[in-house]
Amino acid sequence: MAKITEQQFLEFYDKNVGKIYRYIYFRVGAQELAQDLTSEVFLKSWQRLNQEGAKIVDNPRAFFYQVARNLIVDFYRQKDKAPLSLEEIADRTIADRNDGPSETASVALDMQSVKKALMHLNEDYREIIIWRYLDELEIKEIAEILNKREGAVRTLLSRALADLKGILK
């Protein structure tokens, strides 16, 4: 992929901001923090893509997720905090503010069971399930983020699903 233009970058933002936000949200558990970190992801990505001598990025989505991962790690390192577990995230109300009370309860219940199950997974399994089934990343993109072979990613995904299935039973 050729060096990205401002217009292309903003188009990428339009298509992917929701996914990046959701990924970060599941890692940090707080809406405002997820918003701040998401903004930071796009700013930092742009700076890195445009600095002198920057390499051409073949897979922008994988690149952005790598930046997001690194920012989350830095955040916890600076704050000297342990990452939030999904148990803590699961306890917070997540449904859209605009929903009425009944919709909020219904959505929250559906989500609750899945979240709790995801909570019991280890972080690697949790992350890969979010990327594959929520953010709809390709196997090769996940492989690039994790710096693994595609075969290894498929195996990881299969084990993650099996674990999750076991928990939800």
């Binding site: 401002e6 933002y13 929701g18 959701r22 918003q35 796009f42 742009w46 859209d96 899945v114 699903l161």
Partner: protein, 354 residues
Amino acid sequence: MEDKELITKIQVLKEIKPSEDWVLSCRGKLAFRLEMGRKQDLLKKDTSTLKELFAFLGNTNRQPSFNLAYSLFIAALVVLGGGGATVWAAAQSLPGSPLYPVKLVMEKARVQMSLSAESRLQLQTQIADTRLQELEFVVNGQDSDALKVEKIFQVAEGMQDQLTIANDELPKVGDKAEPQKSLAVAKMVSDKASQASKAIIAAKESLSSDMKSDLTAKLSDAVKAAEKTGLAALEAMIMSQDISSTTKAEIAVKLQEEIKNTEEQVLVKEQKIAQANSFADKLPIRAVLINQFEQIHDLLDKAAESLNKGDFSGTLEMLKAAKAIDDGTDKVTENAVMPEVKGAASSTVDNLGK
């Protein structure tokens, strides 16, 4: 549990999304930062900007120490890109200033950050007012004609950009919003476009004749953009629902003005053709032009008839057709009144036929 069923359960979590307001606000800030970053890079690389700021150092007459402090302050803002102070300095800048392009970028970013088409258009009309004031400032200033030409062109370019964007936004205004609000915005745009066109032409007229010819070609695009936006705004007004009788009267006046302006433009060209020497090689072009001028007059007559009958849409269609033909005759008219240029006549006639 099947994998499919499990994946469906997982995908319920797709409901988790950021709020639309935050997404738009974040995008606006990002776009602004990208633009400011790009402009800062340009300013950093532009050593002539800094040379201009420090030009007083080469001056044998001692400048007051205030000038040194002021220039250092501006240079520091430009190079280091300090937030609020740079923004303030750019916002005060006038055509010819090194920060003027930054001002235009900041205005564009403000418009992009607006959430609705109407608020964007309202901002655009406010910015158009700023351009008109800047144009007046330049015309009434004490600069040499040569410097005025450059500054007028800078302002006209800015106007052209805004009017083009306003033109693109107009169809969105009536989509969901209240018709009265949309109508008010369309009126504003129509007024500003008309003011812009007159102001640019008046600015050109204020210059000496040799400078006027330099500016004509440069400004024609800006004037055309103003006319195009004005017509589009007029169309938006005509398409509005439930317009009052006052507004209908306003629309009628604007249409009448447009018909009259187009007539005058064509008459000027006809006079040029009539007064110029009749070179034999130019006869084919002139014949085609005369034919086209007749078509334009015919369309304008029909436009006037439709207007008398109260058919605004019909009037506008005739007017647009007349202007489309008129636009095509500009360069050809210039060519037709110039002395012989071998080969130009036949190729120009060929082009007209396409």
